[in-house]
Amino acid sequence: MKPRVAPAIFLGIPTVFLVGLFVLPLLSMLVLSVWRTENYHIIRDFSFHNYEVLATEGAYITFLVRSLVMASAVSLICTLLAWPIAYGITLYGGRYKLLFSLAFAVPFLTGEVLRIIALQGLLGPLGLLNGVLLSLGAAPLRVIMYTNVASAIGLVYLYLPIVVTVIYLSLLNFDQRLIDAATIFGASPARAFFEVTWPLNLFGTLIGFALCFIPCLSATLAPRFLGGPNGTLYGMAMAQQFGESGTWALGAAMGVVLFAVSVLLVVGVARLIDLRRTGFTGFGRG
């Protein structure tokens, strides 16, 4: 019998890809996290010391809590902003719909660093906002200069396009005539939204939320460039372990913890949500 090549290729390539780019780095992180460093040298002594440090040292817990609060707030703001934007495009985009959705992809073409630096310029002391305020004779807005608010603005700016795109795609797949059906059967437009539009786009909204939440949880650039002295977030602290301080093993443990927290959150949400109730039909007709 001839070996079937096509399935092997189609399944094999993603498998190699996943193993190579995801499983292997994760495994190396796991291994590294149970070793330790000493002045830029990795000492291969097995212990859970790094995890003990993370669990007992308040600083790292503070970073994680800060990051969780920041990620939640940013994701919520992004979702709240993205819904009307995406909905507006589907309703009024007309024949420019495609153009609009492509326009949202444009920021992805520039690097994240560039965008953050651009924003730093916008929010900074000589930035557009404060420049205008200063020329009007007002004091610069300290609340957006190197604060957590500035970080949040930066993160919203970074991830809003993703959330809009995901919710837009969800709405595009959503049969708008179901709203007709709901109103015909007595639902006011607002009621129809909560009975039909919201639940049927909940899955897409959650994906958008998660695609914002998870990178925000590990955000390093926005807090670093915008966050100021009190703005250190978990991801930024973790990057410091790999960067400046060379405490790679502790950083690896932080990475493992972050991964575990992210997975737990996703699993937790997935268990709370009945996919069937979001119109998800990937179960077949069973």
């Binding site: 015909i184 059967f185 007595g186 437009p189 009621r191 009975e195 069937r276 979001t278 119109g279 007709r285």
Partner: protein
Amino acid sequence: MAYIHLDGVSKQYGSVWAVDRVNMAIEKHEFVSLLGPSGSGKTTLLRIIAGLERPTTGRVLIDGEDVTELPPHKRGVAMVFQEFLLFPHRTVYENLAFPLRMLKLPKGEIEARVEWVVGILALRGLEKRYPNQLSGGQQQRVALGRGLVGRPKVLLLDEPLANLDRELRQEMEVEIRKHQTDLGIPFIYVTHNQEEALSMSDRIAVVRGGRIEDFASRTDIYDRPKTAFIAQFVGRSNRFTGTAATAGGTISLSGDGVRIETATRPGIADGERVAAYVKNEKVRLRPASAGGAGAANTLAATVRYVILRGAYAEYVLGWSGGELVASRPRSEAEFTEGAEVVACWDAADVDLFPAPEDGR
């Protein structure tokens, strides 16, 4: 005053009038079909009644109330959609309960009403399923049940059977008509399928180019078409064209070896181009050996194909003017392919209209 009243309703999209000055009066116990080809504006008209579209001009009255400005959810109407449009995230039970919840009925009442509809539509045992776990016919019955459960003032049906196969469709036709009779509320049924319209309706409105071509009982629409379009569109007919010649109370047209004669009617002048329609089932056949081929409303032909349609046989005949179809009960004498026959019809069965300039 009629229960539902459309008063000069028009709808303009850009420069196109999708619905053009429609006046209709529908009684409370009527089953009315809006019959027309696709793009004729019949669905737009239905959506105007539902409140999903706002008419450019004109008024819609339901049960004496002007609802033109009312949004759909305040009109007390219900609708069954061609694509069913069941809520995919809700079970059958929840889909059926939806209109009742919107009416804020007490829980017990909701249960009782859903139970009733589950009963009459044979949906028992499916209550906990999701729409994508149902067959097409089951989904259709849930959609119908959702339309009936709230006891609407009127049920609007937008080609509800178009996605079902033929057998199921005929079953559903009977069922739909039965529920309409039982409930005693008007059904307005949009279809492009004349068989559906004819099988269920009390009255049929034939829609063409946004206008009502005729609104009359189904027998009138079928037997006494008021326009060439209706004659063509409703039923299956044979068409002859020629020049009218009036003489002594009859009007006749000749050509291609046949002379068609019928009683004169107003509006057709001597020498005018006309089209004559004879329904397939009005054409009678006898063997050529029986003779009489030269008379009016008679022609000699050869059987080309015989198509069996259950109780009927459809004969496709070749004659000097082209093809002619005769539909005869199987109980009559049968002809085989190649047989020489004489086809004839009664003068009263000829529908005659001025022929449009394009010769159709």
